[in-house]
């Protein structure tokens, strides 16, 4: 399941989507908005997105990971628009029979999302500069 939303992510729903009794392992990554970037205090953060292409890229990545890592379940979600400090901006969850694939797939997916998916972050710093 892939989701791109302009409101808080329903992470408990995503967790439930990973349910599969054949799976011994799940791996979850939560990317949250942190207080500092490049040594400066972040006042606000917002994500801009090329939605139709981002959905297409995320679907492709999910499909690739399902096959490469023999996953039973995979959920990718990204929040767009303004995201307050400490809240979840990206959520990745995978379930596999054994733990090795789950760890590897989760790492792969977050690295690829950050590299390939057309979503850009804009910080406003407390000093007032972009």
């Amino acid at each position: 399941m892939i989701e791109i939303l302009g409101r808080p992510l329903d992470t408990s729903r995503y967790m439930a989507l990973l349910d599969d009794n054949s799976c011994g392992g799940r791996c979850i990554f939560e990317g949250r908005v942190r207080t500092h970037n490049l040594g400066k205090e972040v006042a606000a953060l917002s994500y801009e997105c090329y939605e139709p292409m981002a959905m297409r890229q995320m679907e492709a990545l999910r499909g690739l990971a399902m096959g490469r890592f023999s996953l039973r379940k995979a959920v990718l979600a990204h929040r767009i628009g303004p995201v307050p400090m400490g809240e979840v901006a990206v959520w990745i969850g995978v379930a596999s029979v054994h733990r090795d694939e789950a760890f590897a797939a989760c790492r792969f997916l977050i690295d690829e999302v950050k590299l390939k998916v057309p979503i850009w972050k804009r910080e406003t710093y407390s000093s007032g500069n972009w």
Binding site: G31, R32, V33, R34, E48, Y50, P52, M53, R56, A89, V90, V113, K114, L115, K116, V117, P118, I119, W120, K121, R122
Partner: protein, 83 residues
């Protein structure tokens, strides 16, 4: 032919809009479009090498031929996210 061009991130500030229609000669490529946009906004020159290009929702190499009605997106680097 008419191409819809989409701008993201700092390119929206540079071009003063999020999207616009650009007229190009039949047979134009992404390279031709890049040259035309650099002509219009010389400040683009500094980052044009770092851009990825999307044509109709797929990444496309700079030599890609364009057709009337194509949607082209200029994609600045997306890394530097949540690590």
């Amino acid at each position: 032919m008419k191409i819809r061009v989409l701008y993201f991130a700092n390119l929206r500030d540079l071009f003063g809009c999020s999207e616009e229609d650009i007229s190009l000669q039949t047979g134009a490529t992404l390279e031709s479009l890049a040259q035309e946009l650099s002509r219009r906004v010389p400040d683009l020159a500094g980052q044009i090498q770092s851009l990825a290009w999307g044509v109709n929702l797929e990444l496309a190499p700079i030599g890609t031929a364009l057709r009337d009605g194509d949607e082209v997106a200029l994609l600045p680097p997306v890394s530097g996210g949540l690590a």
